[in-house]
């Protein structure tokens, strides 16, 4: 500090106590040195800085640094533009109130919103699932567990575990058509009575959609089903993802459902994702309760 103010440098030694100096091991002796000198910059832009310091052996060393200073041209504006800067205001701008605040910097940070977020390319994130093989054909999508490029729906390792999202998927095509035609007529056939219903009833009392189903609320409007799948598949195979979309506006209504193949996974997902911050919103994840009606 003292080096900056040459005037004070020479006054200080009078107050100096040598005993105190020894404590800092010579480091504080710098104010004993001649002040820093700056010469120039001259017409050629040469600037000389002379500094003094102690070297390791405690000897005084003079350091002269010669630098060349170049004035950077104002690249941004042409001469005429600089002249225009100085123009007097005219018209309504002459009597502008200070409080008018015609020009304001937005308080909001506006970004160039990319249609694809730069970070979310494809499915490269590993879900930690051993079944995930390399990157295969993207067209191959399993409808049971939602995996892409790994296996077809019929070969899904979770086929037996999964309450198939489409109730007719595993059944022979013949029975399929029977039910279809039945439903067209409009007569209701309970699932247990339908042709091809081989499951024992009882366990199937609840609607299939609500099995291991997690309700996610407080989703942001931009969240789509793939985003939700991306978020939830880390916990285990997912059989169905649904985001409620307003039919009129096409905007998400802010909630959705995720069905897990395994109940444990669903439970873990609820524990982890309830209160999780996603897209600036705090998610709520809970068991989906069957509707009363």
């Amino acid at each position: 500090m003292a080096l900056e103010r040459p005037g004070s440098v020479y006054k200080q030694p009078a107050k100096l106590r040598w005993g105190e100096l020894d404590d800092d091991d010579g480091e504080g002796l710098e104010f004993l040195l001649p002040p820093r000198q700056v010469i120039g910059p001259d017409a050629n832009g040469i600037k000389k800085v002379i500094e003094y310091k102690f070297n390791e052996d405690g000897n005084k060393v003079k350091v002269t640094t010669t630098t060349r200073v170049r004035k950077l041209a104002k690249a941004r504006f042409s001469k005429r533009a600089m002249e225009r800067r100085g123009w007097a205001k005219f018209g309504d701008a002459v009597h502008e109130d200070v409080g008018a605040r015609l020009t304001m910097v937005s308080t909001e940070e506006i970004l160039l919103e990319r249609p694809r977020a730069p970070g979310s390319k494809g499915e490269e994130k590993t879900t930690g699932d051993p079944l995930q093989l390399g990157k295969g054909a993207v067209l191959m999508v399993c409808r049971t567990c939602g995996k892409k490029g790994d296996h077809w729906t019929s070969r899904c390792p979770y086929k037996d575990l999964a309450p198939s999202p489409d109730s007719l998927m595993d059944k022979p095509p013949g029975s399929d058509q029977v039910v279809q035609s039945g439903s067209i007529k409009g007569a209701y056939v309970p699932p247990s009575m339908r042709a091809g219903a081989e499951r024992p009833a009882g366990s199937d009392m609840r609607r299939r959609n609500e099995e291991n189903s997690v309700r996610v609320t407080n989703l942001s409007e931009d969240t789509r089903e793939p985003d939700l799948l991306e978020l939830f598949r880390t916990f285990g195979p997912v059989s169905r993802v649904y985001v409620a979309i307003d039919q009129k506006t096409g905007v998400s209504r802010g909630f959705g459902f995720v069905n897990f193949v395994n109940k444990d996974d669903a439970e873990r997902a609820i524990i982890k994702l309830n209160g999780y911050g996603y897209d600036n919103l705090i998610l709520r994840a809970e068991w989906a309760t069957p509707r009363t009606n």
């Binding site: 005219f90 309504d92 304001m104 910097v105 506006i110 160039l112 249609p115």
Partner: protein, 327 residues
Amino acid sequence: MRPILMKGHERPLTFLKYNKDGDLLFSCAKDHTPTVWFADNGERLGTYRGHNGAVWCCDISRDSSRLITGSADQSAMLWDVKSGKQLFTFNFDSPARSVDFSVGEKMAVITTDPFMGLTSAIHIKDIAANPADQVAESKLVIKGPQGRINRAVWGPLNKTIISAGEDAVVRIWDAETGQLLLENDKEVGHKKPITSLAKSTDGSHFLTGSLDKSAKLWDIRSLTLIKTYVTERPVNAVAMSPLLNHVVLGGGQDASAVTTTDHRAGKFEAKFYDKILQEEIGGVKGHFGPINALAFNPDGRSFSSGGEDGYVRLHHFDPDYFKIPSI
């Protein structure tokens, strides 16, 4: 980026234009006073008082000394940029819609709307170097197209005039004789009125925006269609980056329908497209109404948009913008 908001106009913006050096930004609105701003910090430099109707369009001479404006008060005016003084007034019998200086500023093209039984017309005026010698007579008047001509600009070497308007056809006229030289191919052309037209910096091609929710890039000499950019909303304004291969489209739903829906559903965004790949790069939100005007700074590092909401938003790009990969 944090845009600079300029609230100098009390009515919807209609047109924005930078001067050649990119340090001044001129804005026209449906209020009667075109305004000039410093393009770096958005400070208002002055206003041009004198029009008595909505101002639809303006153009600035290359040396930034003259301004020409076209207004719904059935006149086009020449102004001294520095002092805001009126130099000359061209009077018409119908609203002036579009103005454009020729290269060299020896001529100007002014279009007038169909009004009270008159058809739309393209007027070519001689512009005198000294405003005292200025004459009001048109050098040439071109009539023909049905409906309003929303924009007319000079072609290469001031030999042609390119016009586009409500009949959705882009036409090239001979600037000497007034003959129709070319009309765009109906098959590939716009299907609805063309609202805006912007030339590239080198003048080799131009971009038109239309209410048919698309913008098209045309060759300025042969009038062949080069590219089409498809969007979700009617396009009111277009601009081309002088620096990168980007085009910007502005628009949004019709102003009359704005109050019926959520502002997010209106899509009042300036949409960036890759000029070559025709793919969307991104959108810049912010306006509360449709975007009526867009302009790129000639250095390509900032752009401004003017909306139905009366605001001009001046955006200086973040460094990230220049890293967007392109071919």
